[in-house]
Each structure stands twice: as structure tokens, then as C-alpha cells.
């Protein structure tokens, strides 16, 4: 299967400080890849790098490759990116409250995207906007198009953002924590909507989230990020059942589940993601890892396929929650 989006050795720096340190992943047409990690792990920067939406201090470094349907996006001009953004790849964001422009009607904001990418007339794009709002489950869309963002709820606004995103039928949708700011019930509805639209439009989704619950609901594959790198990558169900990296296991353990003993405190990973300036020479997770050995702090582990379809960057990957004793460096795939 050829990949729709192929990212190789993606390095991004802010003001000269590297924050993404060689990110590789593939996303296949119509599939969903979950990109998981804590705040500061680099998942949002990855998404913004792909979209070419880094702010003025951010730069994708030379040598990075971002290929969408075979076209290299890294190093493409702003003008060139504009032809791709919104048309072949679209993005929705974490903050539906502020992502829409407060001074224009919802209809305007959907219609202008339609007009830009599909070249429809003012009137036809208006009608298309109503249709799109209906597609994302907004009731009475004929009335809603004349309303302003502040008149809509958070969930509604995120639906409008989705309508904008799918308006030019993109092959790729990047969703950066699209449900984090929403109520739990609304979260479920939005995820179901994304799933439904994905099937209908055969659209690939890059789902960025810190929430492994979201991943298990929607993703086919999952890549776990830590300190600017991908440290584990496999099928979503396999990761949830069988995390091999101690960090992935820690993330899973810190998700509360129904029926847990309320008197036992929820496990958490001590400490926080080191900032790029403080990345250690060896394994970047070693300082927070309960299984870390002195060797872990010396040599950085490589992302290696330990089991078919399951890569992990750890010298002592967990099997059934127990670390393997041998540093298995020699096994290079």
C-alpha cells in the first residue's frame, strides 16, 4: 500500500533550538494514525510542520521530508503551500472557541473556503456551505449560516470547523486535539462524526491527542512521541493491550477506568517532559523511567522493529509489563 503522507527525518527548530528530532511516520489513504504524547512532546509541532503553519520563529530544517501524495512539502513556498492547504490537506484545532473568526458569519467562513478551492460562485458556495453544515450534523443549517461563532456552542463550532476542513474534500485531515476542549458527551459525538466522514470521503486522519481513549476509539495505528521523537509505533489495539515502551505503559496506566478502586491513587509518571535544551545524551525518558539502567543514560535507543509491525525505541522493551533484561541493540531490522 502506498502511503498518502510520508514523513522522514522531520526536524523542526524554534529560534535555532531543535524541538523535533527526526520524526518518521507514514499514513495510508483512508486510515487514521494517532499521534500521542504529553504536552511538550512535539506532536502539535509535527502537525504544524506538515501543514506549513509554524509561526515566524519556527523552521523545518533542511534534510526533512514531508511528502503528500508524492509531492514534497518541506521547503515549498508559501504560495505553493496555499494550493495544498485546505484543498488536499485540512486541519482542525483544539480551541473551537477561538478558531473561528468572531467577526464573520459561520456561513461566510465555510463559503469562502468553498469559493477558494472549488471556484464556485458566491451563490453556489453559499448553498454548498449549507449542505456542508448539514453533513456535519448541524440542525437548521439554513438559519445557522447567518449566525456568528459566539452564538454557537463549543461542539457546534467544532462541527463548523470540520465542515470547513472537509469543504474541498481533502485526502488528509489533521486533527490537533479536536475534542480536548469539549464535554465528554460532545467528544464522543465529534469522534463518531469524524469516523463517519472518514468512511464517506475516504479521508486519512492524523489524530493528535494526549488521550489514549480517543486513540483506541478512532485510530488504526498509533505513534507515541516523547521529547521530539517517536518512541513507539504499532497498531492501536496492540499498543493499548501490549505497550512495549515504559513511557507508553505509564501513559496507559494514568488513564482512569470505570471500576477502579477509588482509594488507590491513579498512577502517574513522575516529572515532566524535558525541554529541548535539557535533552539528555542517552534515552530521553531515562530520568523518569522506573526500569532505567546506567547504560540507558549513555546511548540513545534506536526505534527498532522488535516484533512484526511493532517498533519501539527502548533497550529493555516491556513484555507483559516486564522489561527484557538484554540490551538487544544488535537486532537491527
Amino acid at each position: 500500500m502506498t502511503s498518502l503522507l510520508s514523513v522522514r527525518d522531520l526536524r523542526t527548530a524554534f529560534n535555532g533550538q531543535t524541538v523535533l528530532d527526526g520524526v518518521d511516520f507514514d499514513l495510508h489513504p483512508g486510515k487514521t494514525l494517532g499521534l500521542v504524547g504529553e504536552s511538550g512532546s512535539g506532536k502539535s509541532v509535527t502537525a504544524l510542520s506538515v501543514m506549513g503553519l509554524l509561526d515566524r520563529n519556527g523552521k523545518v530544517l533542511p534534510g526533512s521530508s514531508i511528502k503528500l501524495e508524492g509531492q514534497e512539502l518541506a521547503g515549498l513556498s508559501e504560495r505553493g503551500l496555499r494550493e495544498v492547504r485546505g484543498k488536499r490537506m485540512a486541519m482542525i484545532f483544539q480551541e473551537p472557541m477561538s478558531s473561528l473568526n468572531p467577526v464573520y458569519t459561520v456561513g461566510d467562513q465555510v463559503a469562502e473556503t468553498v469559493r477558494k478551492h472549488l471556484g464556485l460562485s458566491r451563490r453556489a458556495s453559499r448553498e454548498r456551505a449549507v449542505e456542508l453544515l448539514r453533513m456535519v450534523g448541524i440542525s437548521a443549517p439554513e438559519r445557522r449560516v447567518t449566525e456568528y461563532p459566539h452564538q454557537l456552542s463549543g461542539g457546534m463550532r467544532q462541527r463548523v470547523m470540520i465542515a470547513i476542513a472537509i469543504s474541498a474534500d481533502p485526502a488528509l485531515l489533521i486533527a490537533d486535539e479536536p475534542t480536548t476542549a469539549l464535554d465528554v458527551t460532545i467528544q464522543g459525538q465529534i469522534l463518531a462524526l469524524l469516523k463517519e466522514l472518514q468512511e464517506r470521503l475516504n479521508m486519512a486522519i492524523l489524530m493528535i491527542t494526549h488521550d489514549l481513549g480517543v486513540v483506541s476509539q478512532i485510530a488504526d495505528d498509533v505513534a507515541v512521541m516523547y521529547a521530539g521523537q517517536i518512541i513507539e509505533r504499532t497498531e492501536a489495539q496492540r499498543l493499548v493491550g501490549n505497550p512495549a515502551h515504559p513511557y507508553s505503559r505509564g501513559l496507559l496506566a494514568s488513564v482512569p477506568r470505570l471500576g477502579m478502586d477509588r482509594n488507590v491513587p491513579l498512577p502517574s509518571i513522575p516529572g515532566s517532559v524535558p525541554s529541548p535544551a535539557d535533552w539528555p545524551a542517552g534515552c530521553r525518558f531515562a530520568d523518569r523511567c522506573e526500569f532505567a539502567t546506567p547504560q540507558c543514560r549513555e546511548k540513545p535507543p534506536l526505534l527498532i522493529e522488535r516484533w512484526p509491525g511493532h517498533e519501539v525505541a527502548c533497550d529493555h522493551p516491556l513484555v507483559d509489563g516486564v522489561p527484557t533484561p538484554e540490551p538487544a541493540r544488535e537486532v537491527v531490522s
Binding site: 503553519l53 485546505g86 485540512a90 486541519m91 484545532f93 480551541e95 468572531p102 469562502e112 477558494k116 470547513i164
Partner: protein, 307 residues
């Protein structure tokens, strides 16, 4: 929208009545005897008494107040004690000049100030931003009596491009308008720059870029409209001040506006004219504020929805 507009217009009426009351009280609250001061140091007691009756100061204050208000509704602001003309006529001959000067100065200030501010925001931290910042600091801090005189020396005396003073020809307005606009240019460009920097960092602007919109759309449509509210506030304040008569600019360029009228009337102790000018200027300010508020609601729907 309609309801907001009507409520806002309705709220003008009590404000105007308040302004009239303040203008009325001004004359009565001046320490000493207005008739005595107004008549001048060489006046005989008979002349003072005559003036007192003419100004109506011999009657109870509430009667004077009712009279004053009644006259306002018929458009009468009293009679100048100096010229004997009606105050309304005195103001009527001066006001068009002030409005003309304020209009041109404001137009220059909006165009130049917004342009400097937008470019400064887009290139913030670069050389051009620093140059524009320096221009606006000079505009705000250079006193108009100095800049105005320098302009007269250069453009009238040396180059002979524009008349040095008066309002005889259409070209006469150029120098005073430019001089008057400098302060506003500085003010407006600073405000525009910071508002644009805020607007450009909005999530909604990032959304527009994610939609693939062009740079012109992102800057001119998505960001600028969000930046306009604070800019309009400053424009309104500046315009209100200019309409109140820019006494310094009018004096330097011999411009026959309302500011000069006010200064002359104060010097001549022509209290009915002072009172009339204060009232008219207050009404103009109220109208500018009304226009500013209505513009807010036209630009930002959250204002008219009371949010």
C-alpha cells in the same frame, strides 16, 4: 442591530441635556460677578447693571435655566456681548472651517497611521518597524507650534507652495491639516501596530491560513477587521479633539476656526459665546462618540448582541 442602534441614539438625548446644563452652570459658577467682570474694569455701575439685565443675571437662577433651555430648543444660544450678533451666527461662520480642517487632518492621519501600523506589525522587529516607530514618536512628541512654524518657513516662505496663513484659497488647508495630523498619525499608528500584532496571532488567523487563504485575505480580511475596534477608539478620540478646535494649530496658521473664536471670546470676556462654544463642542463630541459606538457594533457582532 436595529434595537441596539435606536437605544444608543436614544441615550444621546440625556447626555446633550447634561452638556447644556454644564455649559449653563459654567457661566454662573465663575467666581465673582460675571456682569462686573464682563463689563471690564473701566465700566460705570450703570453699564454693569445694564449688562446684568442683558445677560438676565438679575433674575432667579431657575428662571435663567428654564430660559436657557427653552432658547436651546429654538436654536438660540444668546447674543454676543461684544459684536451684538447671535452666538449661533458667530459659531456658524467658524464651525465649517474647523470641520474642514479636522476632516482633512483625520483623513491623512487614518491613511498614514494605519499604513505605518500595519507595515510595522507585519515586519515587527525589523529595521522598517523601528523607523516607523521613530516617526510615530516624533509625531506624538513634536509640539505643533514648532513643527507648524518650520513647515511655514519651508513650504511657504522658502518654496512658496502653500499660503502661510488664513483660509483664503483651497490650498490653505494643506499645511494646517498636515501639522494637525502628525499627533494623530503617531497615536493611530502605535495603536494599529499593536492591535494588528494581536490580531495576527489569533487562532482564527491560523485557521484562515490552514484553509489556504491568500496573504491579502489573511491580513486584510481576517486580521484587520479584528484589529479595527481599538483603532476606531483612538480615531474617535482624536477626531473629537480636533472638532473641539485645535487652538494651537489654528493660531499658528491663522485658521478662522472655532478654537480661535473660543480664545478671542475668553480674552474679551464674551460669556454667551464661550457658553455657546462649550455647548456646541460638547454636542460634537457626543455625536462622534455615538458614531464610534455604532461603528463598533457594525464591525464586531458581539457588541450588538450584548456579549
Amino acid at each position: 442591530m436595529m434595537r441596539y442602534t435606536l437605544t444608543r441614539i436614544g441615550s444621546v438625548i440625556p447626555t446633550v441635556l447634561g452638556a447644556a446644563t454644564v455649559a449653563f452652570l459654567l457661566l454662573r459658577l465663575i467666581p465673582g460677578d460675571p456682569a462686573r467682570i464682563s463689563a471690564g474694569p473701566t465700566a460705570t455701575p450703570e453699564q454693569v447693571e445694564h449688562l446684568r439685565v442683558q445677560l438676565g443675571l438679575d433674575r432667579p437662577w431657575w428662571e435663567q435655566y428654564l430660559d436657557f433651555m427653552k432658547n436651546l430648543f429654538t436654536g438660540s444660544l444668546g447674543t454676543s456681548t461684544r459684536s451684538g450678533n447671535s452666538v449661533a451666527a458667530e459659531i456658524g461662520t467658524r464651525l465649517p472651517f474647523t470641520i474642514q480642517l479636522a476632516f482633512w487632518a483625520m483623513l491623512i492621519a487614518i491613511v498614514v497611521g494605519c499604513a505605518l501600523g500595519i507595515v510595522g506589525a507585519l515586519y515587527r522587529g525589523r529595521a522598517i518597524d523601528f523607523i516607523f516607530s521613530a516617526v510615530s514618536v516624533i509625531g506624538v512628541s513634536a509640539p505643533v507650534f514648532w513643527i507648524g512654524l518650520m513647515m511655514i518657513v519651508l513650504f511657504s516662505v522658502k518654496l512658496g507652495w502653500f499660503p502661510a496663513s488664513g483660509a483664503a484659497t483651497p490650498a490653505s488647508v494643506v499645511l494646517p491639516a498636515v501639522a494637525l495630523s502628525l499627533f494623530a498619525i503617531g497615536f493611530i499608528s502605535r495603536q494599529t501596530r499593536s492591535a494588528m500584532i494581536d490580531a495576527l496571532s489569533m487562532d482564527a488567523v491560523r485557521t484562515a491560513r490552514a484553509k489556504g487563504m491568500s496573504g491579502v485575505n489573511v491580513i486584510g480580511k481576517q486580521a484587520l477587521r479584528n484589529a479595527l475596534v481599538p483603532v476606531i477608539t483612538v480615531v474617535g478620540l482624536q477626531f473629537g479633539q480636533m472638532l473641539g478646535g485645535s487652538i494651537l494649530t489654528e493660531s499658528v496658521f491663522g485658521w478662522p476656526g472655532i478654537g480661535q473664536l473660543l480664545v478671542n471670546s475668553i480674552n474679551n470676556r464674551d460669556y454667551p459665546v464661550v457658553q455657546g462654544v462649550v455647548f456646541v463642542v460638547a454636542v460634537l463630541l457626543i455625536l462622534v462618540n455615538l458614531a464610534t459606538d455604532l461603528l463598533y457594533s457594525a464591525i464586531d457582532p458581539r457588541v450588538r448582541h450584548g456579549n
